[in-house]
Structure formats: C-alpha cells, structure tokens
Symmetry: C2
Subunit: 232 residues, 2 copies
C-alpha cells in the first residue's frame, strides 16, 4: 500500500479540507480502506503578510520550513508529497533537489485538468506572488494553452481578500468581488477560471460561480488519489 | 519548538476536527505560530464493525496498524503522541511498550477535566468495547470518582448509533436518544456526562445537551496544547 505525504498548515483550513475531501472521494470511488496519509503541519506565523510566503525577504525562512517538512515526510516513509499551496511552488525545484521522493506540482495538475476540460485560455485567480513568479504562465505555455490575468487593480484587491481569508477576517463582499473578476476574465477571453490559490475555495462557492471554474485543491486531490493507485 | 504526533483516521472526521480545533485554540490563546503537528492517518477499513477496533478477533490487525503508526510518528520526530479514539486505549500499555515517545491517555485526561469541574460521579457515553474493558471505571476508581453507565439496552442502542456515525448513516433520532440517555445518567447519580467516544461530538450538540458534558476530544486537545508548552 502506498502512503501520501502532505505539507500542511498553508493554511490549516485547506489542509483539513484536502484531507477530508481525499477520504470522501476514496469512499465514493469504492475503496475498501481509508488512504494512508501523513500530514506534517508546519509552524508558520499566524499573522501572515505578503512577504512571508513567496520569494522576497523571508524566502530563507519559508524555504527552511518547507525543506524541514519534506525531510520529515521522507523520514516517515511517504511515497510522494503534495503541497496544498500554489504560491510556494516557486520553490518546487529547490525542494525537489532536497529529496528523492517525488513532489506533485499543483500548477501542472491544475493546467492538466483545464486542458482535459477543453480549456484553450485559462483565467487565473491567484496571489500576487504566484502571478509575479509566472508559475501558471510558464506551465500553460509549456502545455500549449494561454492564460488571462486580472488587471493590476483587480489583482491588488484579490491579494487583499486572500490575506483576509488567512487572517479570518474575510467578508461576503470579497466573494462577490471574486465572482465579478471571474466574469471579467471570461469577457477577456478565458474559457474557464482557475482557483489558483488553495485558500480561494474557502470563500469561492462553486455553485454561485458565474463562469466555469477549475479548483486547484481538487486537481491536487485527484492527483494524490491517482498516485496512490487504484488499490492504493 | 515541540511537535505533537496524532494517530489519525479513527475516524478521519474527528481527526480533522481535532486538528482544526488545536489551531483555533492556539490562535485564541495568542500564540505567534501555528503548532507543529504531524498526523498519521491509518488505512482502516471504511466499513467498520464492532469487531474491528477493540479487543477480539481482529485485535492483532488493529494492534499492528496502531504500532506501525506510532513507529512512523516516532521516526518523524514527534515529542509525544495523542490517539483521538477512546476504544483503542485498551491497547495503550502495549503501544507504550513499543516506543519511548510518551503517549497521552485520553481517558485519564477526560477524568481529570471532570474532577477539575467538581464532578464526583461521571456518566459514560462510550462504545460497548470501551465499557467492556472498564477503561473509564478503572481510571475513575484510581482517581477517586465514581461512574454511572447506561443500561444494557441503552448501551446496545448507543453502539448502534456510533457505528451509524462511522458509516455516515446517522440520523437526528440518534442525537435525541443520546440526550435522553444523558438525562437518565444524571437521574441515576451522575453530575456530568462524558462523551467518551470521539465520534459522539459529531452528533451530540453541546448547546442542546440537557446536562453538563465533558467532551473527551476537547480534553485531549487541551492536553496536547499543555504538552506543547506555553511557547510550544
């Protein structure tokens, strides 16, 4: 039986949601046993700001926390690792160099789901840091599809909303703003919009979305179940 | 910084609830960082029956799953281990013999909370297996308080309700029955009633309880935070 490793705590709400969603989906698919999952929930600061997760002045602290987590999961004996946070995927090459355990790439998985759904141009709802590092642009280009990004002022408001989610001060207005931006992205050429930050599904209700959506958390969950194999 | 290890998946809903509750409580208490938590979610069978968790014909399988989990958490470097399931505490001595990492005892922690709350006699809502192994009776006796247990027919229905929770087929009638048994326990001398099975809080609404309740999951959560220490 295979074992999945998850770098958790980025943030904890989405870690818990991914975990329960893995269980529910495994049950739905008719598996006989629960999947074997090891979660390492890292000791991040409670009050996150935009300088703490991605590239920038706190890069070394973040990279050290992630490397430590990957080493812990490796020691625990996992067969592969998933990191439910798009932004920190800017470190994925450095992290993969630290271990022989394969690390799934949430960005590639999300783009693959989009392609499977016939998407030619994907709108991106992500942190400013994810946007800056061109994670989605590079993967999409490599896989032959286009991306459409929010305007600068929309992006600045999205960033604000994401940090409100992380600090548990988000409002219904935030959700409504995201639906409007998603519509704008489709008006500007997107066939679907990616929730390319794992915190967004916490306030972006798929049933209220005015446009088709690809959820990066679900893309990662399905990749984990695929890697666990049919009989785990 | 200390690291908490959790043997998860018994069942997953309560594992996720304990995890998010640890985070929320740490935030509420004003900690600067999230606690460092490693969860090993074990590959139990989806369709549990009463012979799979405690003593009996599947004892060796269960003991092997738990021992394996404890070894994984030990390798991952945790400072102590918590097991959010009362029933499997019948194996706690055997498990503690397998590792130098201290394992918290949810039963002792629950009894301690009851005593701190001035309880002299505690009513027990638990699995039949937990009742059979006298886990609460022995700990309560040792700590100088009494226990009151449900009648045989009440116990048989409680068991039925717990396995409905595990198999996700529980109904509102189940909750109402538990409130009635809790009242009966108080009528028969209990000052408070312990939710002595970690699955019960999933359908026992504390705000609807007709009598004072001690929740074993909260007792374990507070013990984990205590062991992590003030600054973790």
């Amino acid at each position: 039986m295979k074992t999945a490793g998850i770098v958790g705590g980025l943030g904890p709400e989405i870690t818990a949601q991914l975990y329960t969603s893995l269980i529910e989906e495994a049950r739905k698919r008719g598996h006989e046993t629960y999947p074997h999952i090891i979660i390492d929930s890292i000791p991040l600061l409670f009050r996150l700001d935009s300088e703490q997760i991605g590239r920038g002045k706190n890069e070394q602290i973040m990279l050290e926390l992630l490397t430590n987590s990957i080493k812990i999961l490796e020691k625990a004996g996992v067969d592969f690792i998933a990191i439910p946070c798009n932004t920190v995927h800017c470190f994925i090459s450095e992290l993969q160099e630290q271990t022989k355990v394969p690390i799934l790439n949430i960005i590639d998985e999300t783009i693959d789901v989009a392609i499977k759904n016939g998407v030619k141009t994907l709108g991106i709802l992500a942190t400013t840091e994810t946007r800056k590092t061109n994670l989605y642009e590079d993967s999409a280009k490599h896989k032959g599809i286009g991306v459409v990004a929010p305007t600068e002022s929309e992006q600045s408001e999205i960033e604000h909303i994401i940090y409100k989610i992380l600090n548990q001060t988000h409002t219904a207005e935030g959700s409504k703003f995201l639906y409007r931006v998603a519509e704008n992205l489709v008006e500007r050429g997107a066939d679907a919009v990616a929730l390319a930050c794992t915190d967004l599904p916490l306030i972006y209700d798929l049933s209220l979305s005015p446009v088709p959506v690809i959820d990066s958390v679900i893309a990662l969950r399905d990749a984990i179940l695929r890697e666990l194999g049919e009989d785990y």
